[in-house]
Every structure is written in C-alpha cells, then in structure tokens.
Symmetry: C2
Subunit: 131 residues, 2 copies
DNA sequence: TTAAAGCTTCCAGTCACTGGAAGGTCAAGA
DNA sequence: TCTTGACCTTCCAGTGACTGGAAGCTTTAA
C-alpha cells in the first residue's frame, strides 16, 4: 500500500512515517515508480509505534519495545521493566508540575489583578518578595 | 561585570546567557577587549529570566513578563492573566500525565513480568488486546 | 488533454539550549 | 619575561521528534 493509505490506517502523519523510515524504524519496499510500498507487517509496526508514542515512550524506547515485540522469546519481565521505569518518570513529572502549580497559584492568589501597577507576581520574579 | 560573574550571580549557564543575548533578552555593553560587560540592570534581567523560566514560562512569555516588569504603569491584571493561563496549561499537563499513568499502570499490573514471553503490554501496543 | 491529488527528495525551522573547535585576553607564578 | 591556565570570544553543529515548504515526478479522473 502507498504511504497515504498507511498514514490513514496507522493514524500517523505522512511526514512522520517518512521520518520513521529515515531513522530506521520501518523499512518499506519500493514500487517501480519509486513510491514506498508498505506491507501488512510494516503497517503493524506503524500502529505499534503510534500507540507506544502516544503512551509517552520516546523514540528510542519505542525502538526497544519494537525489538521486544518482534522477539517471540523475550521475557515479559523486560517489557514490564521498561513500562515501570516509564511510570516512575511520569510520576516525577506529575509531582514537579504539582509543585509548580502550587507556586503559581500562590502568586496568582496574592495578586489582586486590577488596573493598578502593584503586582506581587512581578515582585517575586524580580526577587523582591519575602521568601 | 564579566559573563562568568553574571552567570554565578544569576544561576544561569554562560552559554544560556549568550543565547539570551542572541535572541535579544539582554543587551550587555562591551568592554574594550570585546568582553561582555553586564550592569546591575542586566543582572536583574537575568535573575528575572532565571526565575520565570524555572516557573515554566516559555521564552516568549518571559519576554512579555520582562516588558511588563519594566513598564511601571502596567496593570497587575495583565500579569495575573498570563500566570493564570500558565496554571491552566500546567493543569492540562497534569491530567494528561495522570491518565497516561493510569493506562501504563493497568498494563504493568496485567503483566506477570517473569521469563515467559507472554506479555499483555506488548499485546496492547500491537493492538491485539480486548479494549 | 489537463487538472488535481498524491508521491518523491531535500532543505530549513521549531524550542531552548548545549557541546566543541579555534583562537584572543588576562592574571599569577617561576 | 615567559608560560600556564582560566576566562573570554565567535561560529558551527546537534539535540528530539517532527513539521513546512519548494521543486519536480506519477497517477487518476473528468
């Protein structure tokens, strides 16, 4: 199938698919006219990539997961390990954002937000607040 | 003061300060030897940038905040509006990450993680699971 | 026949830096 | 005086994961 069809089926933009070929994540054959010709297996890989990217795995993690996917003998523990380290990463990000939100909310609440120039947010950014 | 001192005082890497000059966030004078010469005002800007970047404002938001910072007449409402939209953005990211974590945790829990090859995580990524 | 849609490659841009090379300047010590 | 090392300069390239656009093929439908 052509790249347009593969794009539709995998829910990945055409540009992204070409990029994935560039970095060796998929290797479609070429038709006589030079067009990429995606097999069912290629499509499976693309769908796999779409799903794993949308779950927040990096390209390199996806590459690793793909090779585990295609190695019928690998231990499920290997896959679980990657997933759990990703969960820890997500957790770290969540708590970072939560403390960020806390600071921003405190600042925002302290600012009366009218048309006068006095502003505790700016004062804090400028390092002039009591903290 | 030289860039090294400015870097220490502002807690910004030397490279980052040069980059900020490149994009017009700070405009230090030059000494006769060609070295950048940072004034106290320049240092204030750098500290302001360090703090606002660390609170998750983008460079363009920082640029806007800086100009509000230096406009003694601006309304505090303007600053508060930027801060609140940033809070909403942080909120969106948090809930995205939370639902991501949910999916990953469900997948991880379903995988027994031993040396056998059967793995519900991979099955899900491949789109072979019941969902 | 022709127009539009779809395909190709290649180059550049995004964001916010970061690394490294090649070279100039300055201060301290032998 | 010389040298060493720290510090400074510019410029170019790379990061991650695409995305946009130009120029030019091929295919399909009217």
């Amino acid at each position: 199938m052509n790249i347009g069809t593969a794009s539709e089926q995998s829910q990945l933009p055409v540009k992204t698919i070409r990029y994935y070929e560039d970095i060796g994540l998929v290797r479609p054959l070429r038709s006589d006219n030079g067009y990429r010709d995606f097999s069912e297996t290629d499509l499976q890989r693309l769908k796999f990539l779409q799903r794993s990217r949308s779950l927040g795995f990096s390209i390199e993690e996806c590459r690793e997961l793909l090779s585990l996917y295609e190695d019928g003998d690998r231990a499920s523990a290997d896959v679980k390990a990657i997933t759990q380290s990703k969960i820890r990463e997500v957790d770290r990000k969540i708590s970072e954002l939560q403390s960020l939100k806390k600071v921003l909310t405190t600042l925002s609440d302290a600012c009366h937000g009218d048309d006068r120039p006095t502003c505790p947010i700016i004062d804090d950014l400028a390092g002039e607040a009591d903290r």
